[in-house]
Amino acid sequence: MVDVGALFSVLVTGIGVGALYSLIAIGFSLIYKITGVLNFAQGQFALLGAFLVVTLSTSLPLWMFDVQVPVVAALILTVLIGAALGLLLERFVFRYFIGEPVLSVIIVTLAFLSIIDGGVRFFISSQYRAYPDALQPDWSVSLPFDTAVQAPFVLGVVLALLTVAGLMAFFRYTVMGSILRASASDQQAAMVLGVSIERTIVVAWALSIAITSIGGILLAMSSGGAGFTIGDVTILVFAAVVFGGLDSIPGAFIGGLVVGVLRQFGVYLEEFLMPGLDSVLPMVFLLVVIMVMPYGLFGTERIERL
């Protein structure tokens, strides 16, 4: 007998979790759309954001002083650091890989995966860090069928919707947005028209990592603190963006929601079958999508010519 209430709760929680994934996925497809870089370290950037908040707000061993930043300031600082990191990455690393083969870029992002992972383990903490109380909101929104949505998920859904709407508006109505679109569709033509490609790529990286760190923070909030499992979100993000179409931001949003629901459905199935299904189900989904419709829902299909 299928329990409607349980399934509804799977759906709602799934959308909540999925909204967090979709924030990170939006960061991913933003970068892919504009620079063509396939970032295998997206989960690690989220991880970095999650750990930075807890370090900044609890104890910041700044030489001899033990500085404590208020929580809100820590959040803002983390997002700003994320954006600054995007700037630095573009300036000192990815600029050298414009026009290099796909493989080199993939390897560079894989290298970042291990750099950030090792760096966080050494410089910040090698263990799970619980979030301060101010970052653990205990309110929730009740829905029919006795289901309640936790605060991080509500925030995630709201923020993800805002981000998608904001980015769409940004791309459509601002000058910078149309410059970004222009360089995404044809870099050379954009350059001829006087667009500074370097600057657009910088903007893309800064935006992407800032959004990703927000996603990482919310993901950490939903589990009560920052742990290294956040890094595993990369592969879920792949499932999300491949389903939505690699270079589509609304696609990434929808893909994230679908992956979140699938994951919760896996958790639900665990009772009947075996544990571990929550991580396998999205992977199987990813493989099926790759085989059946590699360009996803809204992705641009590539036509090859000799």
């Binding site: 396939l38 295998f40 690393v93 050298y96 890989f97 290099e100 796909v102 493989l103 080199s104 993939i106 390897i107 560079v108 894989l110 290298a111 970042f112 995966l113 291990s114 750099i115 992972d117 090792g118 760096g119 383990r121 050494f122 090698s126 595993d232 592969i235 792949f238 499932a239 491949v242 075996m274 544990p275 571990g276 991580s279 396998v280 992977m283 199987v284 990813l286 493989l287 790759i290 085989m291 590699p294 090859e304 010519r305 000799l306």
Partner: protein
């Protein structure tokens, strides 16, 4: 290079040893790895055994990546499958190293074929993503769950330290014996890989790598050749995984995570893609670097071992920025420079 064409027959032109100096280098260089274990410290012998084992694995990656151009991110799984198969054959059937190695290779080749199925529809980074997904399923789920013990025979297994080549004839146990065994297997696979690039199959792989559309127009079956590359490469990586398991004597899924994939990519890229010598140079450099770096780190800052992946990441990015074609290309430039020295041209 002196001017004029020196080769008068096809055999001379395509031979593995073409110039007189290459014969001299071969004759002088061959005894070095054979005599080395009697001179080196025990620790270094074991490091070089590991080097040989990794060379076999990276040669498999080399076939898939530099010959056929498939970005396969499932090295860890392939090694893991080889290791678990070898462990079951040695522990339960007691057949010895050689059959274990061969069967491990064949099983891995078969699984690699399955991993290559997405190549039917997609290429490039879609292959990277789908192999990464399969890696994730296999290591995080399949090998970790004891429900599947019927297939993989237990999440953690250990192997005996003395194993015969076939059943229990000629046991391989001491570090020196392992060194020589790994060396012989490595040489066999290195020669096979070199020869593969000279056969029609190797040329078809290259054609598909350079421009798969043109190759298909010329009548090369893309899907079949890609699958063949997966099978050949998977076989080598499986053998390498089997030897790695025997070398360490213990297997657990943590050994075969994405880290080992990344390590092998670092080795391949650092040495230079496309040449067997590049693979050998790359693996040796990385392993020695790894060995000494870890030693220095442990001596200087005992708590800094977490920094090792950071160093590796930085090294690979710097290498890709400075010399994207690897050590082999850098050596070629050095040779050109020395040939003209002291003039600039």
């Amino acid at each position: 290079m002196p001017s004029g064409e020196y080769f008068t027959s096809y055999e001379d032109r395509m031979g593995l040893l073409r110039w007189r100096i290459e014969y001299v280098a071969f004759a002088l260089g061959l005894p070095i790895p054979l005599l080395a274990p009697f001179v080196m410290t025990g620790q270094l012998v074991s490091v070089f055994t590991l080097v040989f084992i990794f060379i076999i694995g990276v040669l498999g990656l080399h076939v898939m990546l530099s010959y056929a151009g498939e970005i396969v991110l499932a090295q860890g799984v392939f090694m893991g499958i080889g290791a678990y198969t070898a462990s079951r054959i040695i522990n339960e059937l007691a057949l010895g190293i050689l059959p274990a190695m061969l069967i491990a290779g064949l099983v891995t080749a078969f699984i690699a074929l399955v991993f290559g199925l997405p190549a039917w529809r997609v290429k490039g980074f879609y292959v990277a993503i789908s192999t990464l997904a399969l890696q994730f399923i296999a290591i995080q789920f399949f090998f970790r769950r004891s429900e599947f013990a019927v297939i993989h025979g237990g999440t953690q297994q250990s192997l005996p330290s003395n194993i015969g080549l076939v059943t229990d004839v000629i046991t391989i146990g001491s570090a020196t014996e392992e060194y020589f065994f790994a060396f012989v297997v490595m040489v066999v696979f290195a020669v096979l890989t070199m020869n593969l690039s000279r056969t029609g199959i190797g040329r078809m792989f290259r054609a598909l790598h350079e421009n798969d559309l043109s190759a298909q127009v010329l009548g090369i079956n893309r899907f079949r050749n890609k699958l063949m590359a997966y099978a050949i490469g998977g076989f080598m990586v499986g053998v390498s995984g089997a030897l790695y398991a025997i070398y360490i004597g213990f297997i657990t899924p943590e050994f075969y995570s994405i880290d080992i994939t990344l390590l092998q990519y670092v080795m391949l890229l650092l040495g230079g893609m496309g040449r067997v010598w590049g693979v050998i140079l790359g693996v040796t450099t990385v392993e020695l670097l790894n060995h000494y770096l870890l030693e220095t780190l442990i001596n200087a800052f005992p708590e800094a071992t977490a920094l090792e992946p950071v160093f590796f990441g930085v090294i690979i990015i710097v290498v890709l920025i400075v010399e994207p074609k690897g050590i082999m290309a850098a050596l070629g430039q050095l040779k050109e420079y020395l040939r003209k020295w002291p003039y600039a041209y």
